[in-house]
Amino acid sequence: MTALASRSARSTPGDTRRRLVVIGNGMAGARAVEEILARGGAVQHRITMFGDEPYGNYNRIMLSHVLSGEEDTGNIFLNSLAWYRENDITLHSGVRVERIDRFAKLVFSDDGRATPYDVLIIATGSRSHLPPMDGMYTPGGRLLPGIFAFRTIDDTTGMVSYAQQDHHHRAVVIGGGLLGLEAARGLQSHGIDVEVVHSGGHLMNAQMGPDGGAVLRRSVEALGIRVRTGSRTTAILGGGKVRGVQLRNEPDIECDMVVVAAGIRPNVEVAVTSGLPVERAIVVDDHMRVPDEDEIYAVGECVQHRGEVYGLVAPLWEQAAVLADHVTGADPSSVYLGSRTATKLKVAGVDVASMGLQAPERDTDEHVVFSEPSRGVFKSIVIRDSKIVGATLLGDSRKVAYLTQAFDRGLPLPEERVSLLFDLGGPGEEAGVAELDGDAQVCNCNGVSKQAIADTVKGGCTTLSGVMDATRAGKGCGSCKLLVRQVVEWAADGAVEEDPAAAYYVPGVPLEKVALMTAIREQGLRSVSAVFAALAPDGAEDAKSKMGLASLLKMMWAGEYIDERDARFVNDRVHANIQRDGTFSVVPQMKGGVTSPEQLRRIADVADKYNIPMVKLTGGQRIDLLGVPKEDLPKVWADLDMPSGYAYGKSFRTVKTCVGQDFCRFGTGDSTKLGIEIESRFQGIESPAKLKLAVSGCPRNCAESLVKDVGVVAVDGGRWEIYVGGAAGAHIRQGDLLATVDDPETVKLLAGRFMQYYRERANWLERTYSFVPRVGIEHLRAVIVDDAEGIAARLDEAMQRSVDSYADPWAERNDPLTHGQFRTSLPLEVLPKVPVR
């Protein structure tokens, strides 16, 4: 009855197009529809799509980046809702199809709707497999809080918010395949301590053999992820939420969250219920048609073709094209004969490529292996009858393009097998790209061929970013970007335009930093709006460029800079760090980490008086008062009566120190005194990115000086080592030794000179850990220590000018600089709440 009702309601009189219904709005379903539209299918079909996720169509591959925080969920959508509208596609999102009536040609969904079709496409994909373990479910039948699958946007955002709760520190990932390792790496970026428990004998056993697995394990462990292989999880421990996992024959592991990445299962329920042929997945023929059903097709991970089920996107792109050829009648001879899957991925930051056999199978198979575990490099190729039948590459994927093609097409191989693994002075990578056939797939995620890239370049688009935008190549997992660049370079025949914008100091002013500084100086541009007026195209302001320009001008002009407050980021307008709930955090200066009972008492009083929800010690040895509403900032500063600690700026922030010689048994230098002197001298100076410093009293390095932007270590004989370019954040890098000097005065001089050089030469937001390796420590030593360029005096003088123009920003408390500088920008109750202890 409902069927008839909605049937008549839906048909538009006069519309004679066939009704095409798609079940599943994932990567395969949407791609199939795109292919159909590309073949003019909109004229023939009125398209309706069902998807049980409450979203448009997104790039599932990018969830790994969402988990690690590199990408926002907003940026991973492939087709916006506007796309559906523009193409006249009816999208039922958040609606699940339950049954197909093949005879009445109706699709029944869980919103009570019955939708008629003339042609049906099933693209239901797969879901995470949750192997049975004790204690996984609550008595109500739901997953125990803290257990996650890794498949959808909701899974991913759920994991992120759970991982960000401060009392969650440890996670166990069940499964050491591709997804498990991605999950482990992603969780790490939220500060979670991760252990991977894998039942196989080695990691990624579906893609590589034990030797490669061992090298991969080393690389993964070097990232700080613990790995346990040959281990089976038998139960999840915990009452109301996860507290740990139980292993067979091994001690329990305590943890706060569990991610299950133990494989996937095709979603075949709809097909089974509706009487379609299902084995491991929904069976289809070479036309992607369900056998004996003229009008039902299936595509993607829910499909079994010639006995194979694929779990990667590249095959489903090929399937979607064949399907579209038939649905639209564009090419009735088109057939899908299966895909040879070559996986080419970046897993947890490690390049991994694998294809075909993992190891030799016959006595006559040749096996070429190269292994260098300390660098995380492993390469193995299996050759049969002078053809490549399998390859595994880890940690170095430069030869991937050629190998994939040789594998796909059975190309004849060079006599000297080793040249399959390395470029031996012969034709280099360029030639490697030239050898590729036009239809070789360069970007697997988005199915872009070498030819498509070459055509785009020939069409006049000769920048890497332009080609990426036009073809979507390199916009999936990103592992092929290097190859895309090589193809663009090859196709442009050397005439590649370096994407000019990539070199601009800020996006809105088309000049590199040195040229920009020259223009600013020559034209005497002292304010951000003056720079836009003089140097930006059409004099147009650009919001994204303001903060970088403000920083640069302040550095260049010091006291003569004209300060326009709207050019600053909100942190720099109110001298505090904006938090996720719109409140601010206040960190008073505490030079060298030294404080006094009097200061502590005052801080405590302020915290009481203003109901500060959280008082916390920072990693830089200071005290952070979190959750201060904007309008309270001036009063809080007044009551603290301490200078700003600059915890909010792209500027010099803090100097961490150890106890040093006065109290420590080991100290050989007065680290505390030097730290305080450095902080007093350089407080508040602008820089391209934040600067965190440290001074340690001996090589035991209690202040962690080796991983600071500038780190100083006292060594025997009263001398001091200066390290630059260290980091212990998202990137970890030990600083390079700049110089060993005899006295604290020289430390201050050279540190200041280094910082000034960095301020003048670094790109906007480029931390010293990128800057130092980019310009090279030898070069820095030559310029800063040996004055090879004769600019040392000028650098010192420029730094001195900045030091002299210092004023404590918190002095603005008594005299707001702009009207309503500290007025609230939101009623705080509508903001997302942050947890308060």
Binding site: D72, S529, A543, D566, H819, G820
Partner: protein, 109 residues
């Protein structure tokens, strides 16, 4: 911060110079939170004050002639239309202007 109501859904929010040039300030108008910006060319723009992404304070954002960028995750929104240029949901936009006495007048319909 509260507003006087005149006819036609027009609300007078007080003098323009409460808003420094190039910045925004938030106002509560008839139960709605609205961010008003004063562009460098002197004109005004008004959009809803709460970022659709994760509730960020739009009035604390950085602007140019065309867009405002939310301070929390840098999603950008057109000041004229409220539409996001970076894939977030959209803000509402409101008609706003300065009257003869240089008062901010917001139309809420």
């Amino acid at each position: 911060m509260s507003a006087g109501l005149t006819g036609d859904g027009l609300h007078v929010l007080g003098p323009v110079d409460q808003i420094p040039v190039g910045e925004g300030r938030a106002y509560g108008v008839a139960g709605e939170q609205i961010a008003v910006f004063r562009l460098r060319d002197g004109s005004l723009r008004a959009v809803s004050a709460v970022c659709p992404h994760q509730g960020g304070p739009i009035a604390d954002g950085t602007i140019d002639r065309a867009v405002v960028m939310c301070p929390l995750h840098q999603h950008a929104f057109e000041l004229e239309t409220g539409c996001s240029t970076s894939g977030a949901g959209s803000l509402r936009s409101y008609h706003v202007f300065a009257d003869g006495e240089q008062n901010i007048v917001l139309q809420l319909l």
